[in-house]
């Protein structure tokens, strides 16, 4: 154990003096994550605002023929009545973006309504990407107006206006807030952690195995009393620490990013704060540690097999995509932490992280993920030690 500790100490010192490793491990997550957070939250805030109240400019032509419609439009928070529009000019005004929609009331509308007949109104709008939202809201206004007239007719007959409402439906969203948050952030944040865990571990893994082979320092180390397992284990824990540290720095980057974002809608701020409660971060860390161990074993095995730093780099860079791919499946709707998914490497990490952030993770599921990752981590360490013992690998040139 003492020998592993000695090797660990030296390799850590050596690694922390490597600018490339340091920048990948600390600088990149600490700079890149806040930048991404600022951009994403700003964009999300913009979307929230634009989805909430895109103002629709509406013209009501012949408004005298339909009493109350113009007032109804005027009363809408998200509509602005545009006066002075002639019937013939409606299509051109919409196409030229002067107005968004128009109601054209037929001259005999009022007269027909008075006769208990059906009055006619034409609704103009332009089909574009927002057509569904515009049309839906115009229809809502029209439904309200229709109901207003109907109630008046019933009242004229001495009947209760409520009798037209056969079914009263009140919509209530019962989804807990943390579940919604989990869906929003849980899908994105695990990628930060997984990717930075991988990137943080990659350069030390390459440097400590392939790099050392290339620089011929491995030979002198092999002639020391340290066993191959001790050498592999000392290096392994340094790579684990770098991967784990990098992921933690990316979490720190998230805090920094949220701190830097100005004018964030309050509901978004609350959501992000809740997603990064300390207990959740602690649980994330407990997932990230065995993940970093898996990465370390895997990377060191490939790295010691490579002939050179460059070859190791060319193996490990594309491997990042293959490794992260299963985590993408965790994003799909309906994928939850079940005994089956909890045993599937990477997928289990992304789902577990998603549920931790959402605050919906169940202890049994989490335990299964830990057991699965722990076993994989031990296997990866043994694989790494096995490759360090093989002559044809360690002296492969």
């Amino acid at each position: 154990m003492r020998t592993i500790w000695i090797i660990f100490g030296k390799e850590l010192k050596d690694t922390l003096r490597d600018r490339r490793t340091l920048s990948m491990m600390i600088l990149v997550p600490l700079v890149l994550v806040p930048v991404i957070v600022v951009l994403v939250t700003q964009l999300q805030a913009q979307l929230v605002v634009s989805a909430r109240a895109p103002l629709i400019r509406v013209a009501v032509v012949n408004q005298d023929a339909a009493k109350g419609l113009a007032d109804l439009v005027q009363a809408q928070d998200d509509m602005r009545l545009t006066p002075g529009v002639a019937a013939s000019g409606i299509p051109a005004l919409i196409r030229n973006d002067k107005i968004d929609a128009a109601f054209l009331i037929h001259p005999d509308f009022d007269e027909r309504v008075q006769r208990q007949q059906s009055g006619q109104i034409e609704m103009f709008y332009e089909s574009d990407i927002n057509v569904a939202v515009t049309r839906e809201r115009l229809r809502e206004v029209m439904n309200d107006y229709r109901e207003q007239i109907l109630r008046q007719r019933l009242a004229d007959q001495g009947l209760d206006g409520n009798m037209v409402e056969v079914v009263s439906v009140e919509e209530r969203d019962v989804a807990r807030r943390q579940v919604i948050l989990g869906r929003i952030f849980g899908g994105i944040l695990p990628y930060f952690f997984i990717i930075f865990c991988y990137l943080g571990a990659m350069y030390p893994a390459i440097d400590l195995a392939a790099g050392e082979k290339e620089r011929a320092t491995m030979e002198t180390l092999l002639t020391s009393p340290a066993s191959r397992f001790q050498i592999a284990a000392g290096k392994f824990w340094v790579v684990v620490l770098c991967g784990f540290g990098s992921a933690l720095v990316s979490i720190l980057g998230l805090y920094l990013g949220f701190y830097l974002v100005r004018d964030m809608p309050p509901e978004l701020t609350r959501a992000l704060e809740e997603a990064l409660y300390l207990d959740r971060v602690a649980m994330l860390a407990l997932i990230l540690l065995p993940l970093a161990m898996c990465f370390a074993g895997l990377m060191l095995s490939f790295s010691i097999f490579a002939r050179s730093f460059k070859e190791a780099q060319s193996i490990l860079s594309p491997l990042a995509i293959i490794t992260v791919l299963p985590a993408v499946v965790g994003l799909l709707p309906g994928i939850e932490l079940t005994p089956r998914t909890a045993l599937f490497p990477m997928l289990n990490v992304s789902i577990a992280m998603k549920e931790i952030i959402a605050g919906t993770v169940r202890p049994v599921g989490l335990m299964l993920v830990w057991v699965s990752l722990g076993l994989l981590a031990i296997l990866s360490l043994l694989a790494c030690a096995y490759y360090f013992r093989r002559e044809d690998v360690i002296f492969r040139s």
């Binding site: 090797i7 030296k10 050596d14 011929a216 002198t220 002639t223 020391s224 009393p225 360690i394």
Partner: protein, 275 residues
């Protein structure tokens, strides 16, 4: 003492390596060492001489427990390299010509690291390190990063690293390769000093001048097989050629020619290489 007894080493070749060997080569493996036996006595300098690719490095790596022999046994100070690898490495100092050192460490840190790996307590390790640094005049750059040091400075650090655990057996693999005359001379002096202290010194080279300067005992290795084994004096006395170089070529030609696979044998005199 090093006893190499009937050691053979076979390397399996990958498809790429077989391709690189050329069309004439039809096998799937290569015999780097073929039934090699020799003994290095304490208080003597043993020289393993041979052209590039003769199997010198493979032999030294087997002695240093980095490789396992396919056949045969090696003992170092009575310790079996297969079964007592760690104990062997505790009594062995190994140095290569590449002076491979960790660039991001300082000489102080590097030497302490190897001392700790050899189980030397820190206080004692520092005492030994300081003594070596005084002797080799390393103190002026002991806290500078190794990447900033010249080849000669690095060589001094490498020597300290090799000797910090006071090994009884020293193995130098082409230790003077790439060094200037001054640095090479300091290595030669060190070998003599270690021999005079009663330690076992084994070095490999392809330079005839080093053999003349240093060797008490000599083994000539060619294409994995020993062509000569004995004292240097006996070799010199029995020389049929006028020079050592010519005699070396004669010896290896006697056992099957200078080339086995079409490569010319390269010998060197001094620092100049002659084909």
């Amino acid at each position: 003492m090093i006893v190499v007894d009937g050691v053979s080493k076979t390397f399996k070749l990958t498809r790429k390596q077989r391709k690189e060997m050329g069309r004439q080569f039809t096998g799937s493996s290569i015999d780097a060492l073929k039934n090699v036996s020799f003994t290095c006595e304490p208080g003597r300098i043993f020289c393993l001489l041979g052209p590039n690719g003769a199997g010198k490095t493979t032999a030294l790596r087997i002695i240093a427990t980095m490789l396992r022999p396919t056949e045969g046994h090696v003992t170092v100070d009575g310790l079996d390299t297969r079964r007592q690898g760690r104990a062997v490495r505790r009594v062995l100092g190994f140095s290569t010509g590449a002076t491979a050192l960790y660039d991001r460490l300082t000489p102080n840190e590097l030497v302490l690291y190897y001392a700790r790996l050899n189980g030397i307590p820190d206080r004692e390790a520092k005492r030994r390190r300081d003594a070596f640094f005084d002797m080799l005049d390393v103190n002026s750059f002991a806290d500078r990063r190794i990447s900033k040091l010249s080849t000669g400075m690095r060589q001094k650090v490498s020597i300290t690293r090799t000797l910090i655990h006071r090994p009884s057996v020293l193995v130098f693999d082409e230790a003077t390769a790439g060094l200037d005359v001054m640095a090479a001379q300091s290595i030669h002096n060190l070998m003599r000093q270690l021999r005079d202290e009663g330690r076992t010194v084994l070095f490999s080279t392809h330079r005839m001048d080093e053999v003349e300067l240093l060797a008490d005992d000599l083994a000539i290795l060619h294409e994995g097989a020993l062509c000569y084994r004995g004292t240097y004096d006996a070799f010199h006395a029995a020389m049929q050629a006028d020079t050592l170089e010519e005699e070396f070529i004669r010896v290896i030609e006697d056992v099957g020619g200078p080339t086995g696979n079409g490569h010319a044998v390269h010998l060197t005199t001094g620092t100049e290489e002659t084909p």
